[in-house]
């Protein structure tokens, strides 16, 4: 239905936090990283198979860096790739076969080399999203004349949010919104406020899956159609997003608070001096009326 010239780019960002996945393997041996990656591959293959002009990219988001699983740098030349392809011999569409084998090889490399240090155990999701945006930008610059591109990012999240990445995350979200790039989120474990905001702002879909085993089904049902087709389908309704700000002093989420007019920091209680910028605030107290002293009349 889409015109021949429209390129649809899907970037899948997979959270491969080894700590979480390792623990997950111990918790639920049926659903491990392998199964997850299988589901991602099914999704990617389906996307590529839909239209000839569809493009795919897969990024693995790790504790230390983000790594492109597909397309990989070694894809350009090398006989290694050709060998792999010819070895499948099952008549599979070559593009899909290449994609699968590349992803598998790359993830093996990533996880075998990775070393985790104790202080950085959080997934670098903001960085991966930034890389995805850069890739999309690069692809859209490399288009031929007359071709249009529509891109979206699908985030498959496993571990918890990292509060330190908040600023970067918000920057990425607003950049994506400006570029009209949808951010979809498929959350496996715990709800993520940041991703909920991302989906709300950019117009994507946020879904927390009740059953991890059926990940592929959820991906194909909800996240495979692009934004035009989504308006024709009945999909899960958007969740209510908690946009409340947190006060700077206690980090409580507040609905009504005090804002310093100089530095715009938010407080839950009034204090005469703003602790961030040290501005003094004067509030007029109600005027005290001094009682008049009555003169006593002295009897003559």
């Amino acid at each position: 239905m889409a015109s021949e010239d429209e390129v649809n780019l899907l970037v899948i960002v997979v959270d491969v936090n080894p700590i979480w996945w390792g623990q997950q393997a111990q918790r639920e041996p049926e659903f491990t990283l392998s199964k997850c990656l299988d589901a991602v591959m099914v999704m990617g293959n389906s996307h590529l198979a839909l239209t000839r002009t569809n493009k795919l990219a897969v990024i693995a988001s790790h504790c230390q860096d983000s790594h492109f699983l597909y397309p990989s740098k070694s894809l350009g030349g090398g006989d290694g790739a050709a060998d792999d392809v010819s070895s499948t011999r099952d008549g599979k569409y070559e593009l899909l076969a290449v994609a699968n084998s590349t992803i598998a090889e790359e993830i093996r490399n990533v996880l075998s080399k990775a070393e985790v240090r104790g202080n950085s155990t959080d997934t670098l999701l903001a960085g991966s999203l930034a890389k995805a945006l850069c890739y999309i930008h690069r692809v859209s610059k490399e288009l031929e004349v007359g071709q249009e591109i529509k891109s979206r990012i699908l985030v498959i999240k496993a571990a918890e949010d990292c509060a330190l990445q908040y600023m970067n995350f918000m920057n990425v979200i607003f950049a994506a919104q400006k570029q009209n790039i949808l951010i979809d989120a498929c959350v496996l474990d715990s709800d993520s406020g940041l991703l909920q905001q991302a989906c709300d702002i950019t117009g994507g879909l946020y879904l927390k899956i009740p059953q991890k085993l059926a990940l592929a089904q959820y991906l194909l049902w909800v996240f495979l159609p692009d934004s035009e087709q989504r308006s024709q389908l009945v999909l899960p309704p958007p969740a209510h997003v908690d946009y409340r700000a947190a006060c700077f002093c206690h980090r409580n989420l507040i609905e009504i608070g005090y804002v310093c007019s100089v530095c715009l920091s938010i407080f839950c209680n009034f204090s005469p001096i703003c602790t961030t910028c040290e501005t003094a605030f004067k509030i007029q107290l109600p005027q005290m009326v001094k009682p008049k002293k009555k003169k006593l009349k002295m009897p003559a």
Binding site: V42, Y166, L213
Partner: protein, 550 residues
Amino acid sequence: MASLSEEVLLVVKKVRQRKQDGTLYLMAERIAWGPEGKDRFTVSHLYSDIRCQKISPDGKAKVQLQLVLHTGESTTFHFANESTALKDREAAKELLQQLLPKFKKKANKELEEKNRMLQEDPVLFQLYKDLVVSQVISAEEFWANRLGGLNNAEPAPYTNKQEVGISGAFLADIRPQTDGCNGLRYNLTTDIIESIFRTYPAVKQKYSENVPHNLTEKEFWTRFFQSHYFHRDRINTGTQDIFSECAKQDEKGLKSLVNKGVKNPLVDLLSLEDKTLDEGYGIKQALPSTSNSNKTVKESSNAAIIKRFNHHSAMVLAAGARKNEVPADQASETSSTDGNSRDSDFFQPPVKKVKLQEAIEYEDLQRENRQKTVALNLKKSDRYAHGPVPLQSQKYTTSQDIINAVNCIRHEMANYKPNLTQVMSSTAASSAVAALSPGGVLMQGGAQQAINQMVPSDIQGELKHLYVAAGELLRHFWSCFPVNTSFLEEKVIKMKSNLERFQMTKLSPFKEKLQRQYLGTNLTGHLEEMLQTAYSKFHIWQTRRMMRKT
């Protein structure tokens, strides 16, 4: 019959109305017509009722005058006197022309204002129809709050008109027409007369001096056009013209204008003169000397015309600038732009300085004079970087756990081979599909039909009208509290009965209509709640009043 105190301004005999002969009387406040031989008037119209008058064109055989009233009816009078029909008609028309404007202003401005408001605001019009036409409240109450502005005599913003300037070609617009035999017809409208007066105050002076004592208006203008003052070749040969003085005054004015020069020191008009390099470059002959004897006749008439053009243009511009002083008396009309002032010289130096300064300085090249600002001094700027994620106690993972997990995953993925035929079991898939189908676990809370898609649009429109009307009534009701005066007491009681009437006549039928159409949604609940609140408030007030009385 006309009352004895009425002053009769004009009587015209032999005026037919509806094929009957009779006499037309123009009184101080009305126009009336009575048939021949009878004493009473069959037709009588107050001037304030007459919207406009019309006359039949000159060429027609019947000489008629028609009066159109505000109500739209019209009365036609046929002037049947053979010899004086036209004159009679003209006399009647002139008189009416003078009298009608006086009475027009007294016409009910309020009524016009009301009509205008109703026409401009369809919501107001609908409200009026709902409330007043259906007798829920009276018209006075409706207009009580809305016409407040009119009594303050504030000029509405739309009546502010811009001052109209004078067209430079107003004299040319007069365009004389030949009258057949050697005569010229000049058509003077009031606009042209006004332009002439504004541009040439000298003429206005002459007019006020001579009319109506010495000359009629017609004579004055005839003389004006006949005078050489008006014509091209203004050869001032001391004629007995009343306008010769005007010509002399114009000359004087022009001279002083030239002497005054231009205010801007950077504009040098004299450098625009024709200069010749030598004979053959530029002007053929030598510079004309200013002595009269050297000028040829043609040159002098050209110079005179050019002088007149310049003067005319200067007067037109001056009249535009002088607009605020027009009603002032003659003495003050000699303003500075006229060339007759003494204090224009006084203002010369500051103006010159300003102009020079404008030419020298450029605003953007100046040093910026911004106010001194205070720098922002943030002590704990890392607070901004932390998002609204509240500091939760994170799951503590021991380093041993970490190492275990990492090893486990590494081991698992070392031999990873995608197995795409066994991604998930069919039971898992079907349960996922069930969860995603409408009514499933994940689909709760969404896809509710908006109420405006379920209710037909005419019902929606009617509901809107009901809300507007109810809102208006409730506003009147609630504005009565606190009830301090007896007027408010009466109003409160009246408003309560109005509300009840509204509920009975408008709300209940609407509810029944909804029920008949099987619309399940409760559209009138809120309206009823509002009315109920009003009723209970009234009840409380009434009981309190009873208690106070006893």
